[in-house]
Amino acid sequence: MIMHGFVTCYAFGVTTNQIMTDNQPRLLLRNAEEALLDERRDLTPEELSDLARLPSQYVAGLASLAHEVRVDRCGLEVEVEGILSAKTGGCTEDCSFCSQSAHYDSPVKATPFLDMDEVMAAAKETAAMGASKFCLVLAIKGPDQRILDRIIEAVGRVREEFDLQVAVSAGLLNDSQAALLAEAGVHCYNHNIETARSYFPNIVSSHTWEDRVETCRRVKSHGMELCSGVLLGMGESDEQRIEMILQLRDLQPHDVPINFLNPRPGTPLGIRDKIPAWEAIRWIATFRLGLPDVILRYAGGREVTLRELQAMGITSGINALIVGNYLTTMGRDPKEDIAMLQDMAMPVGVIESAI
């Protein structure tokens, strides 16, 4: 009998690791397919955990199933978004991965809120790339009234001049701030959970995971779409990645960006290795199988992590992309992404989440 790897066996409430026999990976994939496409039920944490541990040679099968689930639940359309760091660096928070934190000796120099002309020029670039969404991002703990006023002004101007959904990412919000942004026409608010609740204190000490979730819930309560994702590769365990999926399930975001750690010089995580490309594919697929209805978005770090496998990510559960440059790093030429989607016969469009 061929022994492939370990599978978690949950029997009588006891979890043990057992060697995965030769037909178990196929059985696990078949059961997951039946659950998601026929029974139309969510996978249990145990099922997800087992799928995430499939031997390497079954990752392509896992990806294939994730793609089938994505097309079944969300269609073939891919959503394209452009982002702009409207206020860079000098952030009071100590997120260990972030080159914009004032706590670390990073090469990124703080710049104030961009002029409105610069914001509008970026929105124009975004529209020209074929994107349907434009996200204004600010490196702050949360907005004060002055910054909130400027965001609201920018949102209004962009909405007036371009056919773009406008998203904002400006840190923690209180209830009245969330209400004001919703009223201003902010379509979507980004606030990532970043990592699992159990791992968050290893990454950030200046605010809590619960603070983040509170803002996420406020966003939804005021009718904005919630965009909340993760950053993989910060040292979290496989179990903690499953934990993230379950916590996101609970939060029910519309859009889940998957970032891969691109180690930044000067930050505490600057010396970590990047996630291997094949592992990234495994986890994109696992996130899709765990969150079948969400918009699962390629975000920061995909170029340096996936390299030649970027197209494969699109057939592993991804159905949205941030194109062009990121906040402090560059992306590949947007034309390459558009050509990739054309080659894969995937139309660029706006996706209505099933959630």
């Binding site: 982002i83 860079t88 970026a122 930050t267």
Partner: protein
């Protein structure tokens, strides 16, 4: 890890005359990650050290952060399809 190297929201080294902050200049960097910086100049655009000590630590998808002429940290704005890097002394990096 060095901490508190500067104050939060320290933006005192704001853009100089080379960039008015109004309309985007036509000579902005393309934002293409394959552009090379500093290979023939005095300082590494990735870490600001003299090229004799470092010439090539700028990762492929990172914009230049230090002036290739003087090694000072530059103000860098990353737009969706372009990058603008301005040295307080030498102006916009071309």
């Amino acid at each position: 890890m060095s901490k508190q190297s500067r104050q939060p929201d320290d933006t005192s080294d704001s853009l100089g005359d080379a960039h008015s902050g109004n309309a985007r200049p036509d000579n902005a960097h393309s934002g293409n990650a394959r552009q090379s910086y500093g290979t023939e100049s005095g300082y590494c655009p990735g870490c600001g050290r003299p090229v004799a000590e470092c010439n090539g630590c700028l990762p492929e998808f990172d914009p230049p952060r230090f002036c290739p002429q003087c090694g000072k940290r530059m103000t860098v704005k990353v737009a969706p399809t372009a990058v603008y890097a301005v040295c307080k002394v030498h102006g916009e990096l071309r």
